[in-house]
Amino acid sequence: MTALGPFLLGAPWALAALIALPVLWWILRATPPAPKDIELPSLRILEGAEPQEETPARTPWWVWLIRTLAVLAAIIGLAQPVYAPGAQNNTAEGSGPVLIVIDNGWPSAPRWGELINAATATLDTGDRDAPVHLLLTAPQQLNADPAERMSRTDAAKRLASLRPLAWNTDRKDALARLDASGLKPARIFWASDGLESGTGRAFAVSLAARAPLTVFAAPPRGPVAITGISSETDSVSVTLRRVDLQVTGRAFVSAMTIDGSALATSEVSFASGATEATADFTIPAAALARVTRFAVTGRQGAGTVWLWDSTDRSRRVGLVGPGAEAQPLLSDMHYVRKALEPFASITEGTIETLVAESPDAIILTDVGQILPEDADRLKKWIDGGGALIRFAGPRLAAQGDDLLPVPLRRSSRALGGALAWDKPQALAPFPETSPFAGLKVPEDVRVTQQVLARPGPELASHTWARLADGSPLVTADKRGAGTVVLFHITAGPDWANLAYSNVFSQMLRRSIAAGRGESADDGDGAYTPKLTLDGYGRLSAPGPAAAPLKATDFATTVPSEAHPPGLYQGPAGTRALNAAQGARPALISDWPASARLLGDAEARSLRLAGPLLTSAALLLALDLFIALLVAGHLPRLGRRAARRTGAAAGLMLAALAFAPHQDASAQSYQYELMPDGTYRRVTSGPTVVPLPGSENDPALGPALTMRFGYVKTGDAALDERTRAGLFGLSQVLIQRTSVEPAAPDGLDLLTSPLELYPLIYFSVPENAAPLPEHAVARLNAYLRSGGALIIDTRDGGDAGVDFRISRLEGLLEGLDAPPLQPVPENHVLTRSFYLLTDFPGRYAGRRLWIEKAGTASEPRGDGVSGLFIGDADWISAWAVDQNGRDLYSVDGGPNQREMARRFGVNLVMYILTGSYKDDQVHLPALLERLNDRDDGDKPIRLPNNIPDGGPQ
């Protein structure tokens, strides 16, 4: 190589071609550009005419300039120049083998390119034929053998293929390898990460003792590593360290999910002289649960990535299985599940299976008695640190057990009922000693019913939350290492509207936090690598060398090739091994005197051949373009377009010259809790709130105004009769009661929204075809969700003729009908508004069949029948026209019509109020129970019916 100032020339003789430049200049001047081609039909007129002046137009100067520059760039590029300012200093030394030492641990990743550049630049200096040896300081199974001789070109290729590793260097090991190889280098170049890492200085000294040592140290600028983390419920602090102390530095740390989307970004600023700084994140817990790693934005390297494992984040909660329910949205567990879903992993099952899984908390809703063996299991689990959270309810109120924090009074206390003087109670501020302290007390929460604790000396200390009147709402007790928590209300909205409140979920979370059921004994387990970091801090599948790690060793393991930093899957979830955990990086401050330290500029070498030849090619392409334009071969480009093209080409060149620098800028995001419990990043733009549907929406009418429905049978006359009947009933209700239904709707069983109608009337036509399967399924769903279906066959007949049920059997095949019974005496239906003995329609003396009260119909709510089957043709008796005149005759005259209307009123009242009037039947018993207080342990047996109970 020939040196020419700071340039080294690979093929200096190529420069001789520069002599050709003046020749080129002369030729270009002499050769005019190609003429423009123009059509002119009238050219014949010029026949014989000689132009006065035929001197060629000159080549424009800028065309000349472009061509000269292109040739110049090509010639210089062919001379293979290398810009190496540090080169000539080294040329004197080095005739023997060169040893290149490279730090390839994680600290070198941020400036890896510079290290490799520096090492490559060394190859350009000194004797070109001297062999090159390579020593990498990070330990690796198949590491470069320092004894291996390489030519310079091989070494350059080898250097270019190197990558930083995810673990740190071990220079002692590297030195041992160098000793083992027995290499005697003539000079040594060390591309160092500049960090002490325990043995940095000692390594430099021992290298300098072997041969003249040149060092290029590139310590990472800005934050070097994330070295620790500490987390609270909804905040995280990430600790960063750096080594250059002079300036105040800023950096940004992102909290990222497993798929790499950033959930939050926080700014870190290092004070001048400080090595440590923390980044604080305030992230809602639900979003926090999705964070799997923290990374310094815009920096590569395994050190600036912190993987966050699951050990202290997601709580495991067991819900004691509520089983399949007819109305899942009304069950207590639904509220608990919804409140917990965002931040806890939920499992459901029996107490036995749940305890076996050893979750953080187990939640029971309204379980009165726990089986003795289950209770034993629970006790053992609570002693081990579990949190048992129980909710009250009618069953618990009736019979408690001893897995309760405080003894309870038998029976519950209703507030604000029709027969109570108390108003529904609000919450009192949480006591200071309570785990709930600090939560904002919602003002709109009202408790209408609760179980009462028996007063005792320790009750106050066990109370976590109170009502405004001082009675405990949440009590808790320590049992061994665990806790038993009791909410004195139901988890659902039956007893209090706490479940609707945001505080409910926070109270639940803090209650769960009270217990740490996680006592997973993983002493003999092993963690297998699931995802590992590479040297640049990217997650990837584990390499072949990655080996499982014993759980006991996990805390003490230093990342290495066998155990690379990454996420490990083991018995107690995933755990993370981080590259820079607890690291305290420091600069190598005290270099040996004989070592020559290269500055950043000196260590750099720039091969100019490529860029020069590229620019020559670009210029020639531009020239070709211009030549075509001048010759008019670009038909669509007029004069103006040419100017535009020129400008575009200029812009393109400028863009090439000034490649954009990526600039990490501060970004802050906002989060919003979505209804489904997830968090979503919101932008600051206007939020679009969907407008409710218009008033004309057919589904909206019945939802806003109560009305009856009837099944459209396809028989127009019958449908009109049914409509008139329900219209007449509606009019009667409006006149006589506070029920004010709108005009009835005809329903198509296949399409209409049945669930919006409290009552559906089905007049069965003669010879009706069986209902389609889908229609029956929808009717079943309607009945199961608490609807009422009245089926009227309109057969009538004498009192002696029995009801012909066979007609319905075919029609309603598949209808989920519970056992039916004729309306018993003193049924609520006989007293829900009027006192009736009979249910006449157009025909008198017919029987009405309703669901049999009992266990089978329990899921349908309070034993209120949803199915009414009869044949008295009530519709005809109720039917009126628009002016209120009766439409059809009734067997028994006006008296029977009046009784039919009264039955209709009773029926609607029964459907709308359920067994409310039945409760009044038990009023004396209720009064008696209130007197009972706490002293009688014998269960109260209520008589089924008390004949004189109802209002007269």
Binding site: K36, P41, I45, A57
Partner: protein, 288 residues
């Protein structure tokens, strides 16, 4: 809409803007029996006048219905109705079917447009029209215009057509850039056969202005001829002078033949040129 129909529609629009043709033609050799009233008594279908019976009239010419009203005998005379034949030719040289940069229509299209507009007027007037050298007999009516449009679009395969067998009024459109003697040789046989004719010279503004500068290579479409000019701007004045001379020579030639000369520049309003063309064709009648 295809270009031919386009041209036809524009020609209709152009014709609508022009007043009706007043082709007061004499009973020339070009006249045939037809439907164009000649404002005088003669052979025809329409009533012209009654005149008193003269001795030389045949007895069957007496109009008895009119004569029965009085004591004199009357003869019924009809208006003389004749039709002319007008033949069109449009140059189909590539140099004529050419348009300069940014121009809307080729010179040939403009010429066709003008001739179609004129032919529409003529056909309304009941004249016979046709293409010169088209191989079809001239005909009447609206269909004739369509046929003419076809013939003009098809061209005559870049040959100059032979004179028609019967005398007719000729309208010949070209750019006439070939030297004047050549044109004289072509037109002379036509002029010998047909004393009435119009030369329609269509030029492009580029050909008038010669707006070139710098190094250009000019070539004539459809011919191998091309010339390079180092600095085109120096020859502009010479060109314009030669162009004017050429036009003047052409004008002189047509006048010598007794024909009329109409020039049109593409891009200028067609109505002007159409009106000039109409005035020239009407002038044949006025001469009588």
């Amino acid at each position: 809409m295809n270009p031919a129909a386009d041209l036809r529609a524009e020609a209709e629009a152009l014709a609508r803007q022009l007043p009706n043709l007043n082709f007061k033609a004499e009973a020339s050799e070009a006249a045939h029996i037809g439907s164009a009233g000649r404002r005088r008594a003669g052979t025809g279908e329409h009533f012209w006048q009654y005149r008193r019976y003269a001795q030389e009239d045949a007895a069957d010419r007496v109009d008895w219905r009119r004569s029965a009203k009085g004591h004199d005998l009357f003869v019924r005379e009809t208006e003389l109705e004749t039709a002319r034949t007008v033949l069109f030719w449009c140059d189909d040289h590539p140099g004529f079917r050419w348009k300069g940069e940014g121009e809307l229509r080729t010179k040939a299209e403009e010429a066709t447009l003008l001739m179609l507009a004129l032919s529409i007027l003529l056909s309304k007037d009941g004249e016979r029209i046709g293409g010169l050298g088209a191989g079809r007999a001239p005909s009447f009516g609206k269909r004739a215009v369509d046929r003419l449009a076809d013939d003009l679009a098809r061209g005559t395969r870049q040959t100059f057509p032979a004179p028609p067998r019967k005398p007719a009024t000729l309208i010949v459109a070209s750019d006439f850039y070939d030297p004047v003697p050549e044109w004289q040789a072509r037109l002379a046989p036509l002029a010998a056969q047909c004393p009435e004719g119009i030369v329609l010279a269509v030029a492009s503004p580029i050909e008038l202005d010669f707006p070139f500068q710098g190094r250009v290579r000019l070539h004539r479409p459809g011919a191998g001829l091309s010339r390079i000019f180092g600095r085109a701007e120096t020859i502009r004045e010479d060109y314009q002078k030669r162009y004017a001379d050429h036009q003047q020579a052409l004008r002189d030639l047509t006048h010598r033949m007794g024909w009329r000369f109409v020039s049109h520049v593409t891009g200028t309003p067609l109505l002007n040129s159409a009106a000039a063309l109409k005035a020239q064709i009407e002038s044949f009648g006025a001469r009588a």
